[in-house]
């Protein structure tokens, strides 16, 4: 029953987000600040993880190809497919649920605890529009983060492949270019945009509607991470079924 109520409240929050918009000049500044907080500040960790996980994918693929009949360039092919289809859009989004999601929940939750949200409401500001809308708009740039993750993942794979002696640079690049299907990129970016919306709104929901004090802010961040991850995994399954099968 509580889950149903939460789902209903979440969709009411989404509807409220588009009502009584904040002044355009104020909103522009908020969006730019959120782009910095949510997107630009995530690039470092995303780049680091992508590069090294790309390398690990390549090493594991190469080590599992023991049959001499399988060409070495398949290492590049498998790395590209893994990174573009799953690692970059889904795995990075789960990491972002921890990084960006907990930041959103704790910052909005702290505003709730310290009555800053009440202050906005008393002034006549639509606090949901003021707090959640700029985050949602900023996350439209999330596919840019995922593009970098894809690129660095493949570069990391290449470095591991060549310097680990698993195959030659030419073989790896040949594998990366093999049977490229542009629709896979479309699929990956559709997923990414949906995940971006989830990453902005579910943690906001848990922050905005939290009750209690500082301890509850921490709890709300944890719950937000769990539910954001669960929804990303479920939506990933549904979108894959719809778009690829």
């Amino acid at each position: 029953m509580n889950y149903l109520q939460n789902i209903g409240t979440y969709f009411l929050m989404i509807a409220e987000m588009f009502r009584k918009p904040t002044k355009r000049s104020v909103m522009m500044k908020l969006i730019l600040k959120e782009i910095d907080d949510l997107v630009i500040n995530s690039l470092g960790i995303v780049a680091f993880i992508s590069f090294f996980v790309g390398g690990v994918i390549t090493i594991q693929t190469a080590l599992n190809i023991t049959n001499p009949l399988i060409p070495k360039y398949l290492v590049g092919f498998a790395t590209r497919q893994s990174i573009i289809l799953e690692f970059a859009p889904t795995f990075i989004s789960i990491i972002m649920a921890g990084k960006v999601g907990s930041f959103i929940t704790s910052s909005i939750g702290t505003m709730r605890v310290t009555e800053q949200i009440d202050a906005l409401e008393v002034m006549g500001v639509n606090s949901i529009n003021y707090l959640v809308f700029p985050k949602t708009v900023a996350m439209i740039l999330y596919p840019f983060v995922i593009s970098i993750a894809m690129f660095l993942g493949i570069i990391g794979g290449m470095a591991a492949c060549v310097y680990g002696g698993f195959s030659t640079l030419e073989d790896y690049i040949r594998g990366v270019q093999l049977d490229f299907i542009p629709f896979h990129m479309f699929y990956a970016f559709i997923k990414t945009l949906v995940f971006a919306f989830i990453l902005a709104t579910i943690p906001s929901f848990y922050g905005y509607y939290m009750k209690g004090g500082a301890l509850e802010v921490g709890k709300a961040s944890t719950v937000a991470f769990v539910w954001t991850s669960v929804v990303i995994i479920l939506i990933n399954y549904i979108l894959t079924q719809m778009l690829l099968s």
């Binding site: 009584k20 702290t110 009555e115 409401e121 008393v122 002034m123 006549g124």
Partner: protein, 253 residues
């Protein structure tokens, strides 16, 4: 003027407000007092529209709050200043930006006009040199004064304060009380203060409402509170020996 008639509010089966009726006049400092759990904060949040009430009515200058459209409510709220118990300053903004915030949201003033106005009200609350500080760098008393400056920057018609001097030392508390009282007179606004600080009651209580278990148990002023024979209000206000002695001395003349 704010007119409250037969205000009822419950949370589930628990009745918090049981038919509170009163009025708050312009240019007067109105205090709502009562023990913790008496319904003061719920009453204030109903006045502000942060809580929907079950029955009764709240009229702002003869306009029923519940009859107002969303835009009218928003317009009304832009005329309300609020000082929260914990100040509720925006952590990510400097003191000056906090004070400029209502102007930025609801006026079309230029950046320099907003800054000038913010500096005038910061001067009014004796914080002319603290503009660039972050709220976390300010003391509790300074934060309260910033909250007052933010509340009055847009020339509000109504000022609400929830325990404005809680957590402050007695000297700073008096400064805050006097500041609110002076601003009420200066701007001719309706001021409603939630308090359980008896110093505030004696200093600035031009109209005092005593809530007990969600009901209005007594109404009067700082002068009449000395002579009241209402047992509930006497037990609350004169619970300390100091105030008992003050009362005795007052009654002896």
């Amino acid at each position: 003027m704010i007119q409250v008639t037969e205000l009822h509010k419950s949370f589930g089966d628990i009745k918090i407000l049981k038919g509170v009726s009163t009025s708050f006049e312009q240019g007067k400092t109105n205090l709502v007092i009562g023990q913790s759990g008496s319904g003061k904060t719920v009453f204030l949040k109903c006045l502000l529209g942060l809580f929907d009430y079950d029955s009764g009515s709240i009229d702002y200058d003869n306009q029923k709050f519940t009859d107002l459209s969303d835009d009218e409510k928003r317009n009304l709220r832009s005329k309300i200043g609020m000082v929260f118990q914990g100040s509720a300053l925006f952590d990510s903004m400097t003191i000056e930006e906090n004070v400029m915030f209502p102007l930025r949201m609801f006026t079309n003033q230029s950046e320099s006009e907003m800054r000038d106005r913010a500096n005038i009200v910061l001067q009014r609350v004796n914080l002319e040199n603290a503009q660039k500080k972050m709220p976390s760098e300010a003391s509790g008393g300074m934060q309260k004064r910033v909250a007052i400056a933010r509340a009055i920057v847009n020339n509000p018609k109504y000022l609400f304060c929830d325990e404005p001097n809680s957590g402050l030392d007695p000297k700073t508390a008096i400064v805050i009380d006097n500041l609110i009282h002076e601003i009420t007179k200066e701007y001719n606004i309706v001021t409603v203060i939630n308090s359980h600080d008896m110093n505030s009651v004696m200093e600035i209580g031009e109209k005092i409402i005593f809530l007990k278990d969600g009901e209005k148990a007594w109404e009067g002023s700082k002068e009449t509170i000395f002579r009241t024979d209402n047992e509930a209000v006497s037990n609350f206000v004169y619970s300390s020996n100091l105030f008992k002695k003050v009362r005795e001395m007052y009654l002896k003349g």
